[in-house]
Symmetry: C2
Subunit: 122 residues, 2 copies
């Protein structure tokens, strides 16, 4: 479910955070799904529990999960998260396109690039 890439320059806690956010946003993890415990996941990934704790705190701060002392951490309802993320994707795309325009890339080229994308190539 989670893989750590030690060639990735990003810190481990960030990779874990992003990976779970991705799974939740793509609907791979249902609402109220019980997340692996901090200690269990740390064991599985052969890393320190504090690193997982940091990732879970960040996921909770961003609304992806909720944690209950003694019970565990669970996936939060994700409808508004999905909507927010789509808006964020569009914003990032617009920003990147604006930048590309400044470097001389044309809107036509960009639109053609998007139209050429094969759907479902994950």
């Amino acid at each position: 479910m989670i893989l750590i890439d030690y060639k990735d320059p990003r810190p481990i806690y960030e990779q874990v955070t992003e990976r779970f956010a991705e799974l939740i946003l793509k609907g791979a993890l249902e609402s109220d799904f019980k997340m692996p415990s901090v200690r269990t996941l740390a064991m599985e990934l052969s890393i320190n529990p504090n690193t997982i704790q940091k990732a879970y705190m960040e996921l909770e701060r961003r609304g992806f999960i909720y944690s209950v002392k003694g019970r565990g951490s669970f996936v939060a309802g994700n409808d508004s998260l999905v909507i927010r993320h789509r808006q964020d994707c569009l914003k990032r795309l617009g920003d990147l396109a604006s930048e590309a325009l400044e470097y001389g890339v044309t809107k036509k080229e960009m639109i053609e690039t998007i139209e050429k994308i094969k759907e479902g190539k994950s």
Copy 2:
């Protein structure tokens, strides 16, 4: 010409590198323009000469400038760099669009976003 943003999480040498790359790619610095010397620029920015040295080494590695011991560093010819950067922009845009597709953003939304961009809004 160069400004350091201490709120930017990126290291200083990277900010300097990216800023010069931007100036060169946008044609603000002509070929063979003499770059400020390592020590001069360090003085101006109130940072360490080694930090500028690192930025210039990176700029040279990426083909933006060339350095001559005793004479200085100079902007390299930038035609192929510009072409390469436009291709890179398009690739990044395509990658981001592919990712957005996986999160449920439609091509139509993306294309509309691009079409709405006001040109020359830098």
